[in-house]
């Protein structure tokens, strides 16, 4: 087993990996950028080294600096977390060249799965179903012919694309030529490359993914599915395991297919095979494979009892998987809400600021993965996701009720977060019934419209006025400031409140 591991990441995932190392008795090394000097991952690690200024390009993405720290601190292995260098084949290769184990797949597997069309071709050979579509590099007339074969609605996608740019949904054959022209122009403008390809558009699709684990001895198993259809602008917001639309037989089948996809690239490590799921037809199509730990791995951990990060470390150290497929028996229901520093009342505007107060939920069935602390400064340099709230329940209903309870308990002062948004989702009948798809969020009304009870308005008015009253008094008698700590309005109504009803 490794003696010392460097975690090439920040935030909640760095802390998550450090914890796994500590629980395995492995020494740890953190790296940090300027604003992260007192970040939890720095305080949590056994050693910590500065690698540059705030922008990721100059710190967390600097392969040379990270390898340099790894060499000097004499680590055996590097865990990349997710994001940053986690799916960077060059980084995996640099680790290999430096004689340091990369806790992840081979550079070759990363590369093959990183290129979407190569990935499609590779898994298709193993019988993994793909969304009907074309290869890249076809001419306009070839595309037109292919379009008629695929059928409508379909999507035109830029080969070099990403983030929805150069993407067009076409509903009728008549629209096709005009849309193709527009997509090519947009792609050229955005990426300097007008190559496009076609894909069948599946309305009301769900996003279902299969977690797999593969060791270096040729054993690959799956840990069941996760449902990640609650997305906003292609960003997952809420994930759960299992999914309401996957039964025992389908799980077994999709699991087998996911294993085949992983084996197609001789995959070793934890990985995720993402599928588009057409719930009308009960059909699934390969989307892509993520060759790394996922943000939402905790929901799978909770229902299966498998610690995926520890298993990654074990696999990288050359150990055999501790599980056979038949050992994996999911129990209950797990759900995750991603808490972001975004203002749901203001179009999810990312916001910065200092966390003035923090009280995380706890109690039965609640897990928090977070990098927050009182005094934490939310930086716009990094991803706005600041914490994950995960719950487990015996049933989906209990998980939802518990998530509501936990969201109600969560107190983050000083910054705006997505918590109110999650509360609204947990209250929505569409979510509770499980009849949603990836278009769920975009179809919803603004959170702004949320109904506030008149009684709560009255109470808020009274409390705000009492606070204003006290602030006014403090502004005048500045000398009293020290003494007013916690019994500001001890007298006000106190005798009445006590005498009143009991």
């Amino acid at each position: 087993m490794f003696k010392k591991v460097l975690v090439a990441n920040r935030g909640e995932i760095a802390v998550r990996v450090l914890r796994a190392c500590e629980e395995r008795g492995i020494s740890t090394v953190a790296v940090f950028s300027d604003p992260d000097r007192i970040a939890l991952h720095v305080r949590y690690a056994g050693e910590a080294y500065h690698i540059g200024p705030a922008p990721s390009q100059e710190s967390y993405l600097r392969i040379d600096k990270i390898i340099d720290v790894a060499r000097k601190a004499e680590v055996d292995a590097i865990h990349p977390g997710y994001g940053f260098l986690a799916e960077n084949a060059e980084f995996a290769a640099a680790c290999r060249d430096a004689g340091i184990t990369f806790i992840g797949p081979s550079p070759e597997a990363i590369e093959k799965m990183g290129d979407k069309l190569t990935a499609r071709r590779t898994v298709a050979e193993r019988g993994v179903p793909l969304v009907p579509g074309t290869e890249k590099g076809l001419s306009d007339s070839e595309l037109k012919a292919a379009a008629l074969q695929i059928g409508f609605p379909l999507m035109i996608k830029a080969t070099a694309g990403g983030g929805g740019k150069g993407m067009r949904i076409v509903h009728e054959p008549e629209e096709f030529s005009r849309a193709l022209g527009a997509a090519r122009r947009e792609a050229m403008g955005a990426f300097g490359n007008d190559e496009v390809y076609l894909e069948k558009f599946i309305p009301n699709a769900r996003h279902i993914e299969i977690q797999i684990l593969a060791d270096s001895h040729g054993h690959t198993i799956h840990l069941g599915e996760r449902e990640c259809s609650i997305q906003r602008r292609h960003q997952k917001l809420i994930e759960e395991s299992p999914s309401v639309v996957v039964d025992e037989a389908l799980r077994e089948e999709m699991g087998r297919v996911a294993i085949a996809a992983a084996e197609a690239v001789n995959y070793v490590n934890a990985g995720t095979v993402e599928f588009l799921f057409d719930s009308k037809e009960n059909k699934y199509y390969f989307l892509e494979m993520n060759t790394r730990l996922q943000v939402e791995h905790p929901v799978t951990e909770w229902v299966t009892g498998v610690d995926i990060v520890k298993e990654q470390i074990s696999i990288a150290a050359g150990r055999r998987l501790r599980y056979r497929q038949e050992d994996i028996v999911p129990k209950g229901w797990a759900m995750e809400c991603r808490i972001t520093a975004e203002d749901p009342f203001n179009n999810f505007m990312p916001n910065s600021g200092t966390v003035t107060y923090l009280k995380e939920p706890t109690g039965p069935g609640v897990r928090v993965e977070s990098a927050l602390y009182q005094g934490y400064e939310v930086s716009l340099f990094y991803d706005p996701m600041i914490a994950k709230l995960i719950v487990w329940g015996e049933t989906r209903a209990e998980a939802i009720l518990r998530m509501r309870r936990a969201l109600n308990e969560y107190r983050i002062g000083g910054i705006k977060t997505s918590i109110p948004f999650h509360q609204e989702i947990m209250d929505s009948t569409e979510f509770i019934w499980g009849t949603f798809d990836t278009g769920f969020i975009s179809r919803r009304q603004l959170v702004k419209a949320k109904h506030i009870s008149p009684e709560h308005e009255r109470i808020a008015a009274v409390v705000a006025t009492l606070v204003a009253h006290e602030e006014g008094r403090r502004a005048v008698h500045i000398g009293e400031r020290e003494g007013v700590q916690r019994s500001l309005w001890k007298q006000i109504g106190r005798a009445r409140a006590m005498g009143g009803r009991c």
């Binding site: 179009n347 109470i459 808020a460 705000a464 916690r486 409140a497």
Partner: protein, 164 residues
């Protein structure tokens, strides 16, 4: 002392006299205690228990209770009389500066000086951290002045335009 607390379009007249609180003339049993952290309060109102988070956002208070966030503007009698002498309630009339909530790049200015805008209408598109963000109008009004143009980089809190 008498105060006027405004929540949306509701107004409460709240009087605090010694150890008594009157809301629109009616006495309310309220026991409010700070709870170990700045801005965190426990209120017992006629036996009902609330934990509240109160943040002074300059002029208005953001009160969070039981998962709801409620904005309350509080004015005392004296400043009410002063502002009434000028032009009625202080909020939401008057000039409203629209500022950049985050540093970023102005992608597009969607309105011009003199335009009439509706509440929630997008005014400026600001790119920050690779995401495009719409800056919307907090209330209806007329665009008095536009301070930025597309392509400009702005700091946090930079003035984008003024609604009147």
């Amino acid at each position: 002392m008498k105060y006027f607390a405004t929540v949306g379009d509701r107004e409460f007249e709240i009087e605090i006299v010694d150890s008594q609180v009157l809301v629109d003339g009616e006495p309310v049993d309220v026991d409010l205690q700070q709870s170990g952290a700045p801005g965190l309060f426990s209120a017992l109102v006629n036996g009902d228990s609330y934990e509240l988070f109160v943040e002074n956002q300059g002029g208005a208070y953001a009160v969070t209770l039981r998962g709801e966030q409620i904005h309350v503007a509080v004015e005392d009698e004296r400043s009410r009389r002063l502002s009434a002498g000028r032009r009625g309630p202080a909020l939401p009339h008057g000039k409203l500066p629209v500022r950049a909530p985050i540093p970023g790049l102005v992608i597009k200015v969607l309105v011009a000086e003199g335009d009439t805008v509706a509440e929630d209408q997008p005014l400026v598109i600001l790119e920050a951290m690779k995401m495009e963000n719409e800056i919307r109008a907090l209330r209806a009004g007329v665009v008095r002045k536009v301070e930025v143009a597309a392509g400009e980089r702005v700091e946090q809190n930079a003035l984008l335009l003024i609604l009147g």
